[in-house]
Subunit: 344 residues, 4 copies
């Protein structure tokens, strides 16, 4: 059994890792940590786990010591040192934060205001969105797990960009996220009475996931891509729906579009390319690691409307992190992740 | 007192007209009708009105006979004959349906599959979105009240289009509507357990409001405009948020954009142009006739992101219809509509 | 015009007072105060009011100085001194907090842990639930506005208790409140993701509203009444539904029960006794000052099940406070409160 | 592998059986049927299952022929003949409907209006609420799976009744159910806009689950028990919270109460008796087969308030049915049901 430790286990991504790892047949949770709740059982913070997992939160050092693989779900800026420690102890480090996601340090400086303290470590890390970069992940020890929007948007538009079927200029990603994306921390924005029966965009065209999405799309396009990205906050718990708009290149047909997506996704267990006429809906992937993708053409304006739906806490965070663990440890990628999304 | 009659009073738009007209100081409800519930009190269908309005639903003829102004909230295709009758009896007809909204009969044929039975009547009708076409409304007797999305999208992007500050090619309207937009009729899509904790687009790039939005924007631009319009269904009762994207013309500044919107909206009671840094939210206009508009510039891609929030049942239907009644009858436009949106 | 001031205007009850007073035809808001937001416009905290009410929050002294009637929506313990000041300046004081609600100081000590600093003032104050104690209110200057549950439960069971039709021993009040009842302050309990798709009781059999409900029922019964009161938190914004169970006395008929309620409520504008077969629902009274009451008999166990629905922020707080203002100032009780509850 | 067939697979209980059986390690779905959707894939009705289970709905005969165990999720009245067929073919029949739940045919006649067509078969069937009647289930072939409320209420109050610690007269069960309890069929009551932001009781003191709950409590008490049962409809998808009130017998202590519940539940995997001070919440058992129980004493009125939370579709329907299958087939009871409830 793989010994898996979780640092930052009482945040939402950490708690979701706990849920998923508890039923993983090839891994066991070796230790968990929390700065805010050290010494307390995780089930006190999340009573859903009562009697099923009453592990006591320890500190980060304990987790590192007891684990083969360390998942870190921390605010940005706190992972770099931890990654270094893990690297020195020859342990796998899977970072659910942003510290290793951006290849260009200047982007990190601009959007997060920090620096890369160990450039060598960054060079040896990998941006681990398996559906597009799987082969890079194998053999790596410092794994940057993608963010939620940054998984959803490329799943929607990636194949069209990679195959050169759409203009890379003018791509619009209009995304809508459930409230778990804002985490466990309290804020007026996520106070029940203010979010319920409410809907609005936030961080319009200035969200930190912008450069990360662009990095992925640029790799797929083979040239720099800039997008307009506007996230919105949905009054639901889970799920991100990304509606992505791109101009079709002249002469590109619907059939070519579908063929490109089939080529990318037919062998991907976690991506369900929906049949023509179906529409992606967060309702259908909740609590699972699946990403549903539907394709629509506006023939009046020659625009591709590509829609993806993922569970932001699973495919957008903890589930994808376990998918990456499976890859790194040479397991079948879907091990522990064959969750049937509930129908309602 | 203006005698106001409502045909189709038991649908959602009709029921909202009832609510708003009950407190209108210059109008009284003269009669209401319903095909499905003829002979029953409206308060049996909507117990919220119990003891406050227990009027019995009559038939359409009764309503016409007893009223100075007739509001019709009917499925498309049923208003034309009614409009003619009202015209012959010299009564004001305010249509909340689509039969008189499209100036070009070919558009009506294409999107609704019907014909204009009395072309003269159509010619004398008016598309009544007061904030843009107020002066056309005065003196008219056949009033086409705009649809919900078709109010929200122009409120967001209209001034930029009218002032020529954005490219009219490539405009994207990504809209999200509360469930009242789907009406009182039952459907699997609006079954609680399927809409709750759900979110998805529908009628992607093929919704009937497309030509109506384009008609308004084309008038404002002074040339034909085509847009990509994708509506989504929100798990909330009320509100439409429209996020509209348009490429800024070269050299256009944020200041020019704001100036254009101020010019359009500073004298409009029902449009609240939000200060820089604020973001429109359906939470803030619920149950009222206000439309909030916020402006955002993506300087990285030179894109205007204009956002509007309206209550789809009020500014998007019944409230705007009463606003139009006020105009036609020479009343202060806000009579009966000075509702303070609840803070939560 | 009555000059009405609001102390604690940025809490939910205060903000709701602002909303309702803005359209009151005989009162105007003279000043508002907030400790947390002094110097800021109320519309910054509640953008729903933007451009409609941008009054600046002052301090409590300013409010007292500028007003004929002072509404206080403060945490318990803070109203007594304020009440005294108002009394000395011969101004009407309407307290939305608990400091003047309990006639027995021992109850206040036990449940709130405080003392009555000016016993004379307490003696001259009045517990102002108009439907039961209207005649006591006239001429009073220190008005204790009832709490939310403490309005809903008596509306449901009061007439049966007053007429001696049910056993006063064994009354169960199972109440369910929307999240606005918990106020604007942040808590894990009212974090969107934790309250959404959730439901649970809280403060089981130990909520502070217990002695207040018992005080009202004891007055109506003419003897001491003790009840079991269990509140629950609903994932909705507004509304309290109270399901109250009481054993029918031997031989009491359904007709006697209905007659008792008719006697109490037929002349009450704000209480709607629903016809036999109808069921009270918070859906039907939202945003209004109405309380709906429905009556049900379990003939198998000879139990009366009386159900009431009120909007906790209106009839359960701000609306009732204005109703009390109207009484004290000799206005028609429904002035400014004739709000039609929306049908959806 | 056990061959498990589902009749009525496209209703909510049937669809939930599909979800749970898909990951059961000792069973496989042999066939599914649906009257409304015969010939169509289940994933067309429930797109959450797309690509994971695209089985075609057959008819009931096919299901019986292909299966060792037949689950029936049908409207009442339709199971009796099916049960007989299964009995004759020596197959296990697990009925999620009501036809075999009531031991007394007169109760069935009174509450469901039908008759027992094969009295012998009824005599040999078993009411299968494992936590109370496990030993009766072993060896039986016609299994009556309890309803949702009828699982939740006994889990809350059963031990106190069984141990004679509370008065059996005057028990009140105030229950609140999520909307999945109303099934997939459309109704105005479960139309999104009418249930959302709504809350009300229904079938007050006349719900068909009443005699079933009483049957269980009577068995536990060893004498006839009558209760007052009032269900309410919650605007959430899943979960039933039951707040059950019973008068403590004189001298009964809190310790005796807890001891009784520990005796019943310490060996029950699926019942989590919460520590003193914790409160049961539907949030914590969603999508799982767990039932959480919390105990509270109102010392002022000497009343036990026992609260249980279950997922109405799992422990209240499909999960319990699989638990019963496991018992009948001699498997570990929790096989296939070790689902960790999500924390949010």
């Amino acid at each position: 059994m793989i010994k898996a430790g979780i640092i930052g286990a009482t945040g939402y991504a950490g708690a979701e890792l706990v849920r998923l790892l508890m039923t993983h047949p090839e891994a066991e949770i070796s230790a968990i940590s929390s700065v805010s709740f050290e010494g307390k059982p995780i089930s006190e913070i999340y009573p859903a786990y009562y009697s099923l997992n009453d592990m006591i939160c320890e500190n980060a050092d304990d987790v590192v010591a007891k684990s083969d693989v360390i998942f870190a779900a921390l605010p940005h800026g706190l992972s770099q040192e931890l990654a270094k420690t893990c690297h020195e102890k020859d342990k796998i480090f899977i970072d659910l934060g942003a510290d290793f996601r951006l290849e260009n340090e200047d982007d990190y400086k601009e959007w997060y205001g920090g620096e890369y303290t160990d450039k060598e470590l960054h060079k040896n890390s990998v941006y681990a969105l398996p559906e597009f970069f799987r082969k890079n992940i194998v053999g790596k020890k410092t794994i940057a797990n993608p963010g939620c929007y940054t998984t959803g948007v490329p799943l929607a538009i990636g194949p069209a960009v990679a195959k050169g079927l759409v203009e890379t200029k003018g791509i619009i990603a209009d995304c809508k996220s459930g409230a778990t994306g804002a985490g466990r921390g309290l804020s007026q924005n996520t106070h029940f009475t203010e979010l319920n029966e409410s809907f609005h965009p936030y961080k319009v065209a200035c969200h930190r996931h912008t450069p990360e999405i662009e990095q992925t799309l640029s790799h797929l396009a083979g040239k720099p891509v800039k997008i307009t990205f506007v996230p919105h906050l949905l009054p639901v718990n889970r799920g991100i729906l990304s509606t992505v708009y791109a101009s079709l290149k002249d002469g590109v047909t619907k059939e070519q579009i579908r063929a490109a997506y089939h080529e990318f996704y037919d062998s991907e267990y976690f991506v369900r390319l929906l049949p023509d006429g179906q529409i992606a809906d967060i309702h259908n992937i909740k609590y699972s690691n699946f990403g549903d993708v539907s394709l629509h053409i506006d023939t009046r304006t020659n625009t591709l409307v590509a829609v993806s739906a993922i569970d932001n806490m699973v495919k957008g965070a903890a589930g994808q992190a376990i998918q990456n663990m499976n890859i790194v440890f040479g397991l079948d990628e879907k091990t522990g992740l064959e969750i049937i999304p509930p129908a309602f």
